[in-house]
């Protein structure tokens, strides 16, 4: 495996291009991206719709691999890893927060948080850790046994953040985490993320449309037509 020469970066893009081949012609979603992210950074990615924000985030999250160029996550070259390794990397080092919350509908709030831990450790002895993480999300304890469909958007997003954090990932990726929430709830969620970044030195990369949300970040990356401007 090719090691990144500058291993202090937690994420490093070197000339990364992502092309979606479509019958109507190739779509260049990302065009020669060069980007370095240090541990503990809080980054907002902004740009018009269709500019490649989600694609960039998906590459960071090892949900997809570059068409060309090198992408290093924690010093490891994502392009040379197989699906099983990428999946394990997601499970152990990356937390995802989605605009649609994406909790597992068959599981209760608490079970949703337990799930990644069970995946990682192969054991259910995690109640304590899960409760601890959930408690930090300031969610009413009576809701822990509720199914996602019985929770409000803000409550679901709190559970989703707890789920993303339960395996102590170094990287937290959020695609429009406040996109489906009202301003007040959105602000509360952003305060939570900010606190995570400050108190745990969590690296957070967040896609957003909203300049008010983007202000929470240390650095704003703007992307237009697949290029960082």
């Amino acid at each position: 495996m090719i090691q990144s020469p500058e291993t202090e970066y937690i994420i490093q893009f070197r000339d990364v291009t992502k092309i979606y081949p479509l019958p109507a012609g190739d779509v260049v979603a990302l065009d020669s991206i060069n980007l370095e992210i240090l541990p503990g950074e809080f980054i907002a990615i902004m740009g018009p719709s269709g500019s490649g924000k989600s694609t960039l985030l998906n590459l960071m999250g090892c949900l997809d691999t570059p068409t060309s160029g090198d992408l290093f996550i924690k010093g490891r070259n994502a392009g040379s890893m197989n699906d099983e390794e990428l999946t394990a990397l997601r499970r152990d080092h990356i937390g995802f927060i989605f605009q649609q919350f994406n909790l597992l509908p068959l599981l209760s709030a608490l079970e949703n948080v337990q799930y990644p831990l069970i995946l990682k450790r192969g054991t259910k002895e995690c109640e304590e850790r899960c409760l601890h993480v959930l408690n930090a999300m300031e969610l009413d304890e009576t809701l822990y046994t509720h199914k996602p469909s019985e929770l409000s958007g803000g409550q679901q997003q709190r559970v989703a953040i707890a789920r993303a954090l339960v395996n102590d990932p170094e990287i937290l990726l959020a695609d429009e985490p406040t996109g489906n929430l009202d301003t007040k709830t959105g602000t509360a969620i952003m305060e939570l993320l900010l606190d995570l970044n400050r108190s745990r030195n969590e690296t957070i990369i967040m896609v957003t449309h909203d300049p008010a949300v983007a202000r929470y970040a240390h650095r704003i990356i703007t992307i237009v037509d697949g290029r960082i401007t």
């Binding site: 999250g61 699906d83 999946t87 499970r91 989605f98 068959l106 069970i118 995946l119 054991t123 259910k124």
Partner: protein, 383 residues
């Protein structure tokens, strides 16, 4: 622990879509019942037949050559005393039993009836026939009545029977029912002493000679020995080996039952297709959920196991219900068609329930393979 979590996952999905699951289970149940009950029925039939035939499966039967007829009858040709002696010598030490047979109108009391008449040496009777009531023949004017014949004509020990114009006989014994056979069939007639038969009908030979073979492995040799001895120049007698006939019949029934069981298998294939269909629906509906599972670190093989567990649950439920129902069904069919359930409890019958259940579970798992594979290869970005 992770495994049981995936199992729990599958269980909840089965329960959430209970109607759909119910239909899938129903398909499996029908398939399992079809296989198992067909198998049980076929096997019970084979058992029932061999049960009623096996008592005569140890004989070689010699009849006058008629170019066809097996059951003898008065064709005008008989087996002479000289032929009988030759048979005796050829098969010694196996027992040779010469048989007279015929039929006649009879009168029981004032009632008219008809039945077959067998003339046997009193010493041979115990070898062939079992008695239910009364005793074996005592004297030339005594007779034994077949079980059905006695029942239909209300014959008891002591009843008098007049045989056509040949005279009157007193019944001293009622025979045990013998069932279908290749040699003699006294259920619907009477058995008398050979002396009485000779006196009454004045035949110049026997209608049939039965050779009881002690060692079943030699039955073929016995048959050949008789054939060689008597049919050297021209075919004088027909020789049949009941074991071979029995085996042919049993094999035929076995094949029929295999065939009907296979037809039952087709319904299981239909059930499999419906499970495939239902699970493909489930995969399509859950594309997003599967994407989430994958993006938060669920391996492909773990996603596969969730869907395979789902198929397994459906198969097991269907298999178990089907197994119970096939036992009940087998019981009902046995009563209706065979009038007894004793053959149901033979391991060779019950094993078909096991086959049915196994095929049911395997079919569900096979049907779950493709959907599971499909699910595990979905793109996590779909989330």
């Amino acid at each position: 622990m992770t495994k049981s979590f995936f199992f729990e996952f599958a269980k909840r999905n089965v329960r959430l879509h209970w109607l759909r699951s119910l239909l899938a289970v129903l398909g499996i149940v029908i398939g399992v019942v079809a296989i198992a009950s067909m198998g049980i029925l076929g096997n019970s039939l084979v058992l029932a037949i061999s049960d009623s035939l096996s008592s005569v499966g140890d004989s070689v039967i010699v009849t006058p050559h008629t170019g066809g007829g097996v059951m003898g009858g008065s064709t005008g040709d008989y087996i002479s005393d000289r032929d009988l002696e030759q048979i005796r010598r050829a098969v010694a030490p196996d027992i040779t039993i010469p048989v007279y047979s015929g039929g006649s109108r009879m009168k029981v009391g004032s009632e008219d009836t008809a039945g077959s008449i067998y003339g046997l040496d009193p010493d041979d009777i115990a070898v062939l026939l079992e008695i239910r009531e009364g005793s074996y023949l005592r004297g030339a004017s005594s007779a034994m009545a077949g079980a059905r014949f006695a029942e239909e004509n209300n014959i008891k020990v002591g009843t008098r029977i007049t045989v056509g114009d040949k005279g009157s006989l007193r019944v001293v014994g009622i025979l045990e029912e013998r069932g279908m056979g290749f040699d003699i069939n006294p259920d619907y007639g009477i058995v008398v002493e050979d002396r009485w038969f000779e006196a009454a009908y004045d035949q110049d030979g026997y209608d049939m000679v039965i050779v009881k073979v002690r060692d079943l492995n030699t039955i073929e040799d016995v048959k050949n020995a008789i054939d060689k001895q008597l049919n050297r120049r021209e075919t004088v007698v027909d020789v049949i080996d009941t074991k071979a006939i029995l085996e042919t019949i049993l094999t035929t029934f076995g094949q029929i039952s295999t065939f009907t069981t296979a037809i039952g298998g087709i319904s299981l294939i239909v059930a499999g297709v419906s499970i495939l269909n239902i699970m493909m629906m489930s995969v399509t509906e859950r594309i997003k959920e599967i994407g989430v599972l994958r993006s938060i670190g669920t391996q492909k093989k773990e996603v596969r196991s969730i869907f395979l567990y789902e198929a397994l649950i459906l198969g097991l439920i269907g298999g178990i219900i089907g197994g119970v129902l096939s036992f009940v069904g087998g019981y009902a069919i046995s009563i209706v068609m065979l009038e007894t359930t004793k053959f149901l409890f033979y391991p060779s019958s019950l094993v078909y329930i096991l086959y049915g259940v196994t095929f049911g579970v395997v079919t569900s798992l096979l049907s779950g393979l493709y959907p599971a594979w499909k699910a595990s290869n979905l793109n996590p970005i779909e989330a």
